[in-house]
Assembly symmetry: C2
Homo-oligomer: 116 residues x 2
DNA sequence: AGGGTGTGCAACCATTGAGTTGCGCATCCG
DNA sequence: CGGATGCGCAACTCAATGGTTGCACACCCT
């Protein structure tokens, strides 16, 4: 129900979604996420091989993605595998559609107001 | 079809989506987007009134959102109105779901491989 | 006309973040 | 055993960015 003054801020899970947006703000990180989505688990060294940056840079990015809950790490002998966890992506998508829907509702209300 | 070397990057519209993610990475900007979605057009001064930062800071954020295509500006006499444009949100959502779907497909393929 | 109100522009500061290099430790393999 | 390979941690540089203040211009209203 559209009110003139709904709460100023927040659709559900703003913090979670925010972490995801911040994580995906960087093109390198988007590339990593896409690569992990397409290729399954991979190591930092392997991922760095197809990128113009150092392994440590990739490792940092993976750590950032991990902090956002998008990537999980598993040690396998002397190498460590990184794997995508797509669940937070859903939260972010929900935020986007919620805001979009809220806007659409507002427009519809406005038009109804003008017509009526 | 899962190959060892799929294309490195990109579901459709990576650049567009990236701009949106970068724009929404900041909590203040998310708040602004939410406020515009809920309240319709607003001025920088009005938006700054409910925030702990200066009008100019808000203006800068609105400019950033404008560069991402999320906000349009219209001069009305001596005040300038900012309005949400939700279309880029759809692009970003599409990116998220594409990546998620790609991951799901990969998982399904893997399971089929193990079963078959 | 002229004061109040709202914008926009520019300079400046502090913090964050991406990237690098160097080093030490663990693990596999000949 | 001992070299090679891979990882993680720490220190450092450099650019981007969120925030501020100050000022000048445009517009509304009495």
């Amino acid at each position: 129900m559209p009110q003139p003054h709904p709460r100023p801020g927040a659709p559900g899970g703003d913090a979670e979604a925010g972490a995801v947006f911040a994580a995906l703000a960087d093109p390198t990180r988007r590339h990593l996420v896409a690569a992990l989505a397409a290729g399954g688990g991979a190591t930092a060294t392997g991922l760095a091989a197809e990128l113009p940056i150092s392994r440590q840079a990739v490792a940092k990015h993976l750590a950032t993605l991990g902090r956002a809950g998008l990537v999980s790490q598993r040690r396998r002998g002397r190498e460590s595998l990184f794997e995508l966890d797509p669940r937070p992506l859903a939260d972010a998508a929900a935020w986007l559609t919620t805001v979009g829907a809220e806007w659409d509702t507002r427009l519809a209300d406005l038009q109804r107001l003008l017509k009526g």
